[in-house]
């Protein structure tokens, strides 16, 4: 039986019988993505735009209701921009850069998440998850119209998986009964409860945090500014911590820490939710509850994100606390890291060991996210008297003394990880080069000719030269790497030089298709660049 696990916000891909279901033996697809959430759809879009035929199997017929993940980080916007929908997200969302931290009834400090100019995208936008997914699906529809080989099958639930030599067989349940799909590669984006992970018997261990949080998204006309407000021990007694955050359409996210031993059913009753809301907002502000939920969380990840021909991405592979906006944002980075590698392997341009680097790089990223989100959680919900003592001391000091402010942790908000030590990294041979653009780093944006740098990089390997000579294109074993020739003089603000030259006078960067730095030098050397391209595609 196929039963919806949630109500749909948008019915985007109603079930239609596929010809595959009428054939005697399973039809083989190069890539099957299991799960049509933000991570699966990003991966589908990225692969489809690269011309790789991709089939998405989703057990629902569209996008689920509920605001859920609301903070879209700059890096996700940059990835979406590469895929052609960054602007649509910003237009739909609410831009914010400012965070304020309160302790009891006092503001202890505020922080700006993007303190420098010269970036195409803001530090964050807030946008309800269904709208994010809608933008992705709309973009997929446009890409399909332009010939991108993407197929989405709604009400296709994967109920079994068999690994075979050189492929994977998926058993799929539909309203018309079961059928089988064969895949060269499977990307499992089927969420925290991942049936794929369970079916393969893979471990997913980590730490459970003993606390519950109540989310109430309310619609109201309020003149709170567009910023993130976080309270430790708020003066209103709605929870032991509280968050207020703006979303589009006059919707506000309220998030209250309500303790571990709570009766969920009772707490979610209308009158009890309203009591907490009114304690915070006061009795005179009219509002309407548009979504409510109680969540608990764990910080954990799979031991290995690659299991032969099945690659795990997003919540199926890793879970974090929500403090820091590191869940969906890191899943989109998984897709970004995986798509180009899968394409190269499928086209025979790289050995399949390149996919091991997907696992190692994103496991590294997940560890960083788990570490940051665990620390934020320990600060927000101290687990011992001593921990609470120090937490409160930091807060008491932070209002008056600047030194204590970096210790206040209401969530270290998502920044992309630098793949230090990745086997794909080539030499860092740019003496005096800035630390932020060392090999492994995501390219920092910079203003350029009235536009921005990242928009000029595209989604292929690139040779970026700044005041350095190089041929217009380099080719290594079938991989063509076009040059983008720039001069520091093109950016009078000096940001380009500051972010890519540092103390150096010239620079040559080899950039990966996911816009991470692979290697850098002071000047062009053909052998060095060819070796670095081979290294960045897993051929050592």
């Amino acid at each position: 039986m196929l039963q919806d696990r949630y109500t749909l916000a948008f019915r985007e891909y109603p079930y239609r019988r596929s010809v595959d279901q009428d054939l005697p033996s399973p039809v083989r697809h190069p890539v099957v993505i299991v799960g049509g959430g933000p991570v699966g759809m990003t991966a589908a879009l990225d692969l489809g735009l690269k011309g790789v035929p991709v089939l998405v199997l989703d057990d629902h017929e569209g996008i689920g209701m509920g605001s859920r993940a609301i903070c879209i980080a700059k890096r996700t916007l940059e990835i979406s921009d590469r895929l052609g929908c960054g602007t649509a997200l910003v237009e739909r969302g609410v831009v914010w850069n400012l965070g304020k931290v309160f302790h009891r009834d006092r503001k202890v400090f505020e922080f700006n998440l993007l303190p420098e100019e010269g970036h195409r995208y803001p530090a964050f936008i807030n946008l309800q998850q269904p709208y994010f997914e809608k933008v992705l699906v709309d973009r997929i529809r446009a890409a399909q119209a332009d010939g991108a080989p993407i197929e989405i099958r709604g009400r296709n639930r994967v109920d079994g998986v068999q690994m075979e030599d050189g492929g994977v067989i998926l058993e799929v349940t539909t309203p018309d009964g079961p059928y089988a799909v064969a895949a060269d590669w499977v990307v499992a984006c089927d969420g925290a409860g991942s049936p794929m992970r369970t079916a393969l018997g893979l471990e997913f261990d980590g730490r459970v945090f003993e606390d519950s949080f109540l989310i109430a998204d309310v619609r109201m006309k309020a003149d709170f500014p567009t910023e993130r407000r976080f309270w430790f021990d708020p003066p209103f007694k709605s929870g032991s911590s509280a968050l207020l955050h703006k979303q589009p359409d006059d919707v506000w996210r309220l998030d209250f820490q309500i303790g571990w031993h709570v009766d969920r059913e009772k707490e979610l009753r209308d009158e009890n939710v309203r009591a907490r809301i009114e304690e915070m907002l006061g009795p005179e502000i009219p509002y309407e509850v548009v979504w409510k939920s109680i969540y608990t969380f764990q910080c954990r990840r799979m031991t290995a994100f690659r299991n032969g021909r099945v690659l795990f991405a997003g919540d199926s592979a890793h879970q974090v606390s929500p403090f820091g906006a590191r869940g969906a944002n890191s899943g989109v980075q998984d897709a970004d890291n995986l798509a180009w590698k899968l394409e190269m392997v499928i086209r025979g341009l790289a050995p399949d060991t390149l996919l091991d680097s997907y696992a190692s790089e994103r496991e590294f990223g997940a560890d960083e996210n788990i570490l940051n989100s665990t620390r934020a959680t320990d600060f927000i919900t101290p687990k011992s008297d001593t921990s609470k003592l120090f937490r409160d001391a930091v807060l008491d000091l932070s209002e008056r003394y600047a030194f204590a402010r970096p210790l206040v942790n209401s969530g270290r908000l998502s920044v992309p990880c630098t793949y230090d030590g990745s086997p794909l990294n080539g030499p860092d041979a740019l003496p005096g080069g800035p630390d932020r653009s060392r090999p492994g780093s995501p390219c920092p944006d910079a203003p350029l000719d009235g536009g921005f740098l990242l928009g000029r990089l595209g989604g292929t390997f690139r040779l970026l030269t700044i005041d350095a000579e190089a041929p217009p294109e380099v080719s290594a074993d079938g991989i063509d790497v076009p040059r983008l020739a720039l001069s520091a003089a093109l950016d009078p603000s000096g940001a380009l030089a500051d972010r890519y030259l540092g103390k150096a006078r010239s620079a040559v960067y080899l950039l990966r298709p996911d816009q991470h730095v692979a290697a850098r030098w002071e000047s062009y050397d053909e052998d060095a660049v060819l070796t670095a391209i081979r290294g960045a595609t897993g051929r050592h």
Partner: protein, 72 residues
């Protein structure tokens, strides 16, 4: 005399804080208090400067008259 430093001065503040809290793992309340006392004495000895130590004692009081506060 060196002025008491009240601006950020620790590299990797999150790492430090996590190590500080982890140092108390498994300790009873009494053991944690004793640990904190020893830690304060060790750090005070490291600082050495008597004027800085007096300024630190005053700063920790968070008294209203205190003038070492910096608004930013």
């Amino acid at each position: 005399m060196q002025d008491l430093i009240l601006t950020p001065n620790i590299d990797g503040p999150d790492d430090f804080y996590a190590e500080l809290i982890a140092a108390h793992d498994g300790l009873s309340k009494e053991e944690s208090d004793a640990f904190n006392a020893r830690l304060i004495l060790i750090l005070a000895n490291h600082i050495g400067d008597r004027a800085a130590l007096s300024a630190a004692l005053a700063a920790a009081k968070l008294s209203q008259e205190d003038t070492t506060a910096c608004p930013d």
